[in-house]
Subunit: 333 residues, 2 copies
């Protein structure tokens, strides 16, 4: 048996029609017991496995969900991927993952492919025409774009940033640096708004350095911070990676954290609590986010989905929380 057996081979061996084999496999109740057993034996004997490509075409669904993320090597995503996969797998679906920066044409195709029937989108910077052109159930996770006509799920970034600022205010910090993310990124933007707004309410003098979420950006910001004459006593970084870079560079320059400067991150990546000092940060429940997004998109896949994608519904917010660790302390005077 070199070639892969197909349903016809099973049917022949069992002495029934292919229709019966198909039924015996998908809806066993609908087939006579004796027949069913013959079929099952033939399946075992031939080593038959269904050809999903054929099934997909015929049923016009792929039993697969596609995750699109702007950078597969970003460790922030890994737990989300794992959670989506788990949820999908439990529902009998496979998962495809693709970088969302693969070019307009390729991207467009992905949604028209016939190989996925739901999308979890982690990128808010794609061309809305492309995204809205896909006629597939879609959910925006973490990042979003108001021009996308699809529900979205994530934390309330503005409020979460507020948590960080209030924490620093409570520790007595009166001048705080924010190392921001890319200017065109919604997450960066809303976190910065949360920072500025809450700083104003809390009587904190805000300083903002641009960044891009990376460790290098954090390190660069630290060097810039060090040169300031009247240095902020605390820094709120738009991502944990940035915060780790900031701290690491501060220590290399001879400063102490939190002695000379308190640092708060954002995300609560796996290393945050093992860093030295362990990192005070805003926890994003990445596993829950992945799970909920998968659940949601799976539910949408089941629904009729005739009409245009869901109304501009309010975002589904999951709770973010401040995790106090060792990188923040009282303001020195």
């Amino acid at each position: 048996m070199r070639a892969r057996p197909k349903i016809k081979d099973v049917a022949t061996l069992a002495g029934v029609s292919t229709a019966t084999v198909s039924r015996a496999l998908s809806t066993p109740e609908s087939v006579g017991l004796a027949t069913r057993e013959k079929v099952m034996e033939a399946v075992k004997a031939t080593g038959y496995r269904i050809n999903a490509a054929a099934r997909d075409l015929r049923m016009r669904r792929a039993r697969s969900i596609l995750i699109l993320a702007p950078n597969l090597s970003n460790t922030f995503f890994s737990r989300i991927f794992a959670a989506v996969q788990e949820e999908a797998s439990a529902a009998g679906l496979t998962v495809q993952i693709s970088d969302s920066r693969i070019g307009r044409e390729r991207l467009l195709s992905l949604g028209y492919d016939g190989r996925a029937d739901g999308i979890v989108l982690l990128d808010g910077s794609l061309d809305p025409e492309v995204v809205n052109g896909w006629q597939l159930p879609l959910i925006q996770l973490s990042e979003w774009n108001d021009a996308y006509d699809a529900p979205r799920l994530g934390i309330d970034n503005r409020a979460a940033a507020g948590l960080a600022v209030r924490h620093l205010a409570a520790l007595g910090h009166r001048k705080v640096l924010h190392v921001s993310g890319p200017g065109d990124n919604v997450l960066a933007l809303t976190r910065q708004q949360g920072f500025s707004g809450t700083a104003a309410e809390s009587g904190i003098a805000p300083v903002v350095f641009p960044g891009d979420f990376t460790m290098e950006a954090g390190a660069g910001a630290a060097r810039r911070w060090a040169k300031l004459s009247d240095r902020p006593t605390a820094a709120f970084c738009a991502s944990d990676e940035c915060a780790l870079g900031f701290i690491s560079e501060c220590v290399h320059m001879g400063f102490s954290v939190p002695g000379d400067v308190s640092v708060v991150g954002f995300d609560d990546i796996d290393f945050a609590d093992r860093f030295l000092p362990s990192l005070t940060t805003i926890r994003q429940p990445r596993e829950a986010m992945g799970r909920l997004a998968a659940e949601r998109v799976i539910a949408m896949m089941g629904a009729p989905a005739k009409e245009p994608r869901s109304r501009p519904a309010p975002p589904i917010h999951v709770a973010a929380a401040l995790v106090e660790r060792a990188s923040t302390g009282p303001a020195h005077t």
Copy 2:
């Protein structure tokens, strides 16, 4: 135009047969210029996108490669995923990623699915029957299993571990701890063999604690190490995560690294050089590994592939290297 246009719609609009549309799209040279232009216009007008599920079925190939890894949330894999994706994308292929621990049945199906035509396998602990049953080009990356009948790619783990030990020997360490990985894991096993072998050659007294690559395991090992009466002056951990956990716990217990104990990791994950102290480790060129694996499997997909999968060829080794950073120093006396 609510429903997705199909090739028939384009053909009708252009006033040609579906065969011609198909040709105009896949082999434009084979179609008359005028016809080609009519078709292209119709494609644009209808917004036609090829249905990949149908193409795949007809052509009996999926233009897709499947990555199988034992734990999607392990950050060690992220860069590999990204590299495979890049390479695949450049070749016009899509990428599917799945956890390899999804259960025997599901796993078996993946390879028979008709939805992937090449596999990059990062798990050496799957049932060889399952793996060898897949009739798809396959390459083993990083982890491997001699019972898999497929070529493999990765670093020479034994030699790489030797690098770490010799580095410590050169620093004057005479008693070294190895925190190992899971006993049933090839990587853990070969790294441990490299450790033991080189220790013997270098006149180093070896101590081995079992572990499982995680930060928790590293932290646990550190606590155990602290209780030893005659403590090793250095620790070689089987993974960076483990090393970071080890260091972090040592510092929490009041020890200094490398003052009281030098620590070497394995992998060179992104955080290694920003950790405090920055981590001396063995660098695995993950990007190159991903890229090479993808190249290789793509090449195999092109080949005839009639005969049984490649002979027990020698593994393709990529170079690992010691990266000296701040977590190791001279043995104290």
